[in-house]
C-alpha cells in the first residue's frame, strides 16, 4: 500500500509540473510586471520603489531566461511564497488560511446533506424503477442539474429572506453581534441547501444507475436464491457494490467543489475562498486567484490518490 502511494505520487509529478508550468504561463500572461506578483505591494509606493523593484527582480532572477525563471519561481511557490495580495497587501497564504474554514464548513455541510438525501432516493428509485417515485426523483434531479446555481440562490433569497423573512440573505454571521452557533446555522442553511440541491441531482442519478447495474448482476440472483430477504439483498449485496463508484466520484469532486463555490459564495456573501476569488477578480488581484487555482489543482491530485486507495480498500479485486 505504501509502495503504491509512493509510486502514485511519482506518477503525479509530471502532472504537478504541468500544473506549475500552466500557472507560470498565467503569471506571464497577466498584465503588468511579473515581479509584482511576488513582492509586497506596500513597498511599491513612494520613493525608492523603482529601486526596490529592480533589486527584487535580480533577487527573483527575473532577468534570466524563462526556464530559469520558472525554476526560481517554482522554488518560491514550493516554499510557500505565493505572493502578496494587491488589494489587502498581506501574503496570499495568510488570506487563504483565513477563508478556508468557511468554505470547508459550507461544502462539507452541502456534501453531507446531498449524500444523505441522494442515497435513499437513488436506491428507492432503482428498486421501484418506472414508478411515480422514480419519475419524480428523475425529474427533480434533472431540474437541479439544469438550474444555474446562482439563480437557485437568488430564488431562495427572494423567497426565504425577502418575502418570508425567515432567514438572513447572506453573510456568515449577523454583524455587530457576538457569533453564536444558532446564528451561524441560520446563515449556513440557505447556501448549504442550495449547494446541496445542485449536488443531489447528479448523485441521485448516479446512485440509481449504479444500483440498477448492480441489481441485474448474477450474484443478486444468487443471494435471492439463498433465501435472503429483500432488505438484506439490497443492503448487504447491492448497496455496497453500488456505492463503490460513488465514493470515487466524491473523492475526485471535492477539490473542484472547494474552488467551485465562487458563485454560491458570491450570491450569499459567504466569506470563503470563492468569495475571495470573486473579490480578487473584481480587484484584478491576480496572485490570489492564481494561488487558489494552483492549490486546488494540487488538491485534485491528492484526492485522486485518495480515491484510488479508497477504491482498493472497498473493492478487493483491485490490486494496487
Amino acid at each position: 500500500m505504501l509502495g503504491f502511494v509512493l509510486r502514485r505520487l511519482i506518477i503525479a509529478i509530471p502532472v504537478l509540473l504541468g500544473i506549475l508550468v500552466i500557472a507560470f504561463v498565467f503569471v506571464h500572461l497577466l498584465p503588468g510586471d511579473p515581479v509584482r506578483l511576488l513582492v509586497d505591494p506596500s513597498q511599491l509606493s513612494g520613493a525608492g520603489s523603482t529601486q526596490y523593484l529592480a533589486q527584487k527582480r535580480i533577487e527573483l532572477g527575473l532577468d534570466k531566461p524563462l526556464p530559469v525563471q520558472w525554476v526560481l519561481w517554482m522554488r518560491e511557490v514550493l516554499t510557500g511564497n505565493l505572493g502578496f495580495s494587491f488589494q489587502q497587501r498581506v501574503p496570499v497564504l495568510q488570506l487563504i488560511q483565513e477563508r478556508v474554514g468557511s468554505t470547508v464548513l459550507l461544502t462539507a455541510t452541502a456534501v453531507v446533506l446531498a449524500v444523505v438525501v441522494a442515497i435513499p432516493v437513488g436506491v428507492l428509485a432503482s428498486l421501484k424503477q418506472n414508478s411515480v417515485l422514480d419519475y419524480l426523483a428523475g425529474a427533480t434531479s434533472m431540474l437541479a442539474i439544469s438550474i444555474p446555481v446562482f439563480f437557485l440562490g437568488l430564488l431562495a433569497i427572494y423567497v426565504f429572506a425577502l418575502q418570508l423573512n425567515v432567514l438572513p440573505s447572506g453573510g456568515r454571521q449577523t454583524l455587530g453581534v457576538p457569533p453564536t452557533l444558532s446564528d451561524t446555522v441560520q446563515h449556513l442553511i440557505m447556501p448549504a441547501a442550495v449547494l446541496a440541491a445542485v449536488l443531489t441531482g447528479p448523485y441521485v442519478r448516479y446512485v440509481r444507475q449504479s444500483m440498477l447495474d448492480v441489481l441485474r448482476q448474477d450474484y443478486i440472483t444468487t443471494a435471492v436464491a439463498k433465501g435472503a430477504s429483500p432488505f438484506r439483498v439490497v443492503l448487504r449485496h447491492a448497496l455496497r457494490n453500488a456505492l463503490i463508484p460513488l465514493t470515487t466520484v466524491l473523492a475526485v469532486q471535492i477539490p473542484a467543489l472547494l474552488a467551485g463555490t465562487v458563485v454560491i459564495e458570491t450570491v450569499f456573501a459567504w466569506p470563503g475562498l470563492g468569495l475571495l476569488v470573486f473579490q480578487s477578480i473584481e480587484g484584478l488581484d491576480y496572485p490570489v486567484i492564481l494561488s487558489v487555482v494552483m492549490m486546488s489543482a494540487v488538491l485534485v491530485q491528492l484526492c485522486n490518490l485518495v480515491a484510488d486507495v479508497l477504491a482498493a480498500v472497498l473493492d478487493p479485486r483491485i490490486r494496487l
Binding site: L127, L154, R216, G260, V262, F278, I281, S296
Partner: protein
Amino acid sequence: MTGEAIGGGMGADEAAAMLGGHLAGPEETIAGPGLPSQSPTRIALARFRRHRLAVAGLTVLVVLVVLALLAPLIAPFDPNAVDLAQYRRPPTGVHWLGTDEAGRDVLSRLMFGARVSLTVGVVAAVSAGLIGLVLGLLAGFLGGWVDALVMRLTEVVLSFPSLVVIILLVAVIGPSITSIVAVIALFEWPIGCRIVRQITRVTKETGFVLAARSVGASNLRLMTRHTMGSVISPLTVVVTLLSAQAILLEAALSFLGLGVNPPQASWGGMLRSAQSLTVLSDFPWLWLPPGIAIAITVLSINFVGDGLRDAFDPRQEM
C-alpha cells in the same frame, strides 16, 4: 419492497438475453424482402422518438433557436435602445416583460440574449467535442507514449477548477463571445476525450476491427471506418451535455461580470442586476425571465442528451 421486486434482479432485457435473443426472430425479418432495412441509425431514431421528454426538449430547443435567429425581425424593441423615461417599468401591454434600469425592453433583450447563450453552448461544446474526438482516437488507437501524453494532459486540465481558471483566463484575454467560447472549449474537452479513448481501446480489440486488420486495412481506415462509428454516438451525448454545461458556465461568467461586453444582452448579464437586494425584492421581472430561460434551455438540452443516450444504448429500455 416485495419479495419479487428485486427477485430476479433482472430487467426485461436481461430476460430477453436469457432467452438467447430469439425475440424478433431474425429469420422472419429477413424472409420479407420488402421490409425496409433497419439501419442502426434508424433504430436509434425510433428509440429517441419514444423518449417523450427528449422529444419535448428538442421541440423547445427548436423554438428557441428560431426565436433567436429571428430576433432582429420579431423583437418588439431594439434591445439596446435606452429610454430613461421607461425606467424599471413592470410588465405592460407594450413591454410584455417590463423594462430595465436603462428603460430597455426586457423581452427583446431576452430574445437577443438567447443568441449569445445558444452560440456559446453549441460552438464551445462542438469544439470541445472535436478536440476530444481527435485526441481520444489517437490516444486510444495508438496507445504507447501518445496515449500517456494525452492522458497526462487531460489530468492536468481536469485538475484545474474550470470555473476559476476560465474566469482568470477570460479576465486576462478580455471578455468577448470568442474568448468565452475558446476558453470553455479549452477546459471542457478532456471529458469527451477520455470517453472516446476508452471506447476506442475497447473497439480496437473487438472482432470486427481484428477482422478488418486481417484483410489488411490501414490504421487510418480502422480509425475512420470502424472505430469512429462506435465513438460517435456516445460523443454526441457528451457534446449535448457539454453544451448545457457551457451555457451554464457562460451564464455564471456573465453573472460575475465577465461575460459579453455591455450593452450586449446576455441572460447571465441580465441576472447580474439581481445582485442588488433592491432589484431582487422589488423588480422580479428583471431577473426571473432570464433565469427561467436559462433553466428551460439547459433542461431541454439535458433531456435531449438523456434521450440520445437511451437511443444509442441498447441496454436502456424506455
